[in-house]
């Protein structure tokens, strides 16, 4: 504890360190708030730019971009209904309805504060419980991953809106998209149609941009009522202490979910946000208000996705295993600065570890502060006239798809999925489950089949392992409770033949 306090003091009194962490956080916020750009890009961009800096300052800058990027996605999600980053998909569900109702500033405020608390709570876990939690992460194998993915897929019911059947269809479409490429177990080619661009499957980022950004941009072409020029007043931005206290359990619960999802390698902010949103809805006294502008939905999503930051650093620093795509890029940054993550990092470079803890804490505070002070800047950027904004977002979205693999195929896939997503939305099909299916479908199939292979086809492997069993029981409970709830709702509807 004393080391951490000393670390904080020395960083705060180091002007270069503070400046770089501030710049990194600001850059992360800008990248996160612009659709087509991501936190991963921001961190990747910073690696060569911070090469000449001291390791702690360099990594602190990257951490600032990470934290800022995860939080920045909420801005476009709330104002434009286009998630700035994949982890902000769930924020659109309640954030944009709040903005349409003239409560955009309140929504942005909740997103900033929830992100701050999520980051802070995950920092506590990182700073004090890293080795213990890392041991838990190593106990995860195929059955646990499969059960986690299955649990994540049951969240489809929470993000389906009125029609669960259409939500399931959208989820299955996402899963079908995830099948394209090379079979994860046998290496057979599936649904590649002879196109080498599909050998590694449908890339997540272009698919997400296509499914989310393009339909919203096309909708915005005719929607004269799209929220623009949200008048942000500071007094509307900051939630009151009373409402903050009322939401304390939601913040704590969803932050812890984010930490634990972040600890599990190869997951990420979007999975955490979906699971946290579902839990917030289940624990809410007014679950029917979710999806219509309930701040608790924003709190759940943003607290969870920022809590992933600290959680994902735990396996990275203790075991050298990145918790998500951003920490995977950050691993490269660490190696470039001569730091090999793993148990030895804590013994041989303890000062660097303390520096990482310190800069993450500072970046979290700066992230909230920058949003409080600079939110008008972000709102202004996104408040340009619709005709210019629509065109600009199309360019940025297609460039964002292209930049990943420098491949025109991704651009055309974005457009194709965008048109498909547009007509899906027109037909009342939700898009969020498709994203969930795409992200989790691959993981579920791979881990499920791996678990069966290693157990020689014996399904009891999922029951014999306590974590997997617990997740399966929770998944079944979620499905049953959702079915019972929907049945009761339909029993009240007399005439309409509801799907």
């Amino acid at each position: 504890m004393a080391d951490i306090i000393n670390g904080v003091i020395s960083t705060v009194t180091n002007p270069q360190a503070m400046l770089m962490v501030f710049l990194g956080t600001f850059m992360g916020l800008v990248f996160g708030s612009l659709p087509g750009l991501t936190a991963t890009m921001a961190v990747a961009l910073l690696i060569p730019m911070t090469f000449t800096l001291e390791p702690v300052i360099a990594i602190g800058t990257m951490l600032g971009a990470y934290v800022g990027g995860m939080a920045g996605g909420a801005v476009a999600a709330i104002l434009l209904n286009i998630p700035g980053t994949p982890s902000a998909v769930v924020t659109t569900i309640d954030g944009h309805p709040m903005a349409r109702a003239g409560r955009g500033a309140e929504a942005l405020g909740w997103a900033a504060i929830a992100s701050g608390f999520g980051g802070l709570i995950s920092w506590v876990f990182l700073a004090f419980l890293s080795p213990v939690l890392a041991r838990m992460a190593t106990s995860f194998s195929a059955p646990e991953y499969a059960a986690l993915a299955m649990f994540g897929l049951t969240i489809i019911s929470a993000v389906s809106g009125k029609s669960v059947v259409k939500g399931i269809i959208a989820g299955l479409i996402g899963m079908v998209l995830s099948f394209a490429g090379t079979d994860p177990i046998w290496g057979d080619l599936r649904f590649t149609f002879g196109n080498y661009n599909l050998l590694s499957g449908v890339a997540t980022m272009p698919a997400l941009i296509g499914l989310y950004s393009i339909p919203q941009i096309l909708n915005g072409c005719t929607n004269k009522n799209t929220v623009r020029n949200v008048k942000v007043k500071m007094k509307n931005f900051m939630p009151s202490l009373k409402s903050l206290w009322k939401s304390k359990w939601n913040i704590i619960r969803t932050s812890i979910i984010g930490v634990f999802i972040g600890i599990i390698p190869a997951t990420g902010g979007n999975i955490a946000a979906f699971i946290a949103y579902d839990q917030a809805k289940r624990f809410s006294k007014e679950p029917e208000t979710f999806g219509k502008g309930n701040p608790d939905g924003i709190i759940a999503s943003e607290a969870a996705n920022n809590a992933v930051c600290g959680g994902a650093l735990i396996p990275l620093l203790t075991l050298g295993i990145p918790g998500d795509s951003v920490t995977a890029v950050m691993l490269g940054g660490l190696l470039i600065h001569g730091l090999t993550p793993g148990p030895a990092l804590f013994t041989e470079h303890y000062d660097v570890v303390i520096g990482i803890f310190t800069t993450l804490l500072i970046a979290t505070f700066l992230m909230v502060l920058i949003q409080m002070v600079g939110i008008k800047f972000f709102v202004k950027v996104l408040s340009v006239p619709t005709n210019y904004l629509s065109a600009a977002l199309v360019v940025l979205s297609l460039v964002g798809s292209f930049a990943l693999r420098r491949n025109m195929f991704d651009v055309f896939m974005t457009i194709g999925l965008g048109l498909f997503g547009f007509f899906l939305m027109k037909g009342g099909f939700p898009i969020a489950p498709a994203v969930l299916g795409l992200v989790l479908g691959r993981m579920f199939e791979r881990e499920f089949r791996t678990a069966l292979r290693t157990s020689n086809g014996n399904m009891s492997v999922f029951i014999e392992r306590p974590i997997a069993l617990a997740l399966i029981i929770i998944s079944v409970a979620v499905v049953v409770s959702t079915a019972v709830k929907r049945y009761r709702e339909r029993a009240k509807v007399k005439d309409e033949f509801v799907i």
């Binding site: 269809i169 057979d188 393009i214 460039v399 025109m408 027109k426 009342g428 033949f497």
Partner: protein, 169 residues
């Protein structure tokens, strides 16, 4: 549900049904290893595709039933709202879709910079013809160059520029 949304729901269900059936056919005819321990490569996709086909059939059939029911309810209520008369896809949206496709194709023939300037200019004029053309052109050019330099210098992204490459720039 309004008529346009219901029709789109039926059309999309039918479309997904058709595509799923096609993919299922591919799944059955693909050359994959079948004598394997555990599930073969297409087992999962087949299961998901069957489920998707079943659900899309359900949505399409109930959509048609609801459409007929809603049609007879609309006949009783003689008022026809403007929304009922509006097309499934608005003119601006259809134009934008065509423009986006042309824009992406344009990258490979005239390059990123020229196609982006043209796209932003034309798209902005379609959505708001009131703005002065020179203002729109300035915004289009400025924004395109900003994105170009940010990505090419910042991320090292090489955009396709066949015309500039041919000239020697």
């Amino acid at each position: 549900m309004d008529k346009q949304k219901r029709l789109t729901e039926i059309i999309m269900s039918a479309f997904i049904l058709a595509v799923s059936t096609y993919l299922l056919q591919i799944a059955y005819t693909s050359k994959i290893r079948t004598k394997v321990q555990g599930m073969n490569s297409m087992a999962f996709p087949k299961a998901i595709l069957y489920l998707l086909i079943a659900l899309c059939l359900y949505v399409a059939i109930t959509g048609v039933i609801n459409l007929k029911k809603e049609k007879s309810l609309r006949r009783l209520d003689k008022k026809t709202s403007d929304q009922e008369k509006s097309p499934i896809i608005a003119k601006e949206v259809a134009l934008s879709v065509g423009l986006i496709i042309l824009y992406a194709i344009g990258w490979q023939f005239i390059g990123f910079i020229l196609s982006s300037i043209l796209f932003v200019f034309v798209e902005s004029r379609i959505l708001d013809p009131e703005k002065p053309w020179w203002h729109t052109m300035l915004v289009a050019a400025g924004y395109t160059l900003l994105v170009y330099f940010a990505f090419s210098m910042g991320f090292g992204v090489t955009f396709p520029e066949p015309i500039f490459a041919a000239i020697g720039i």
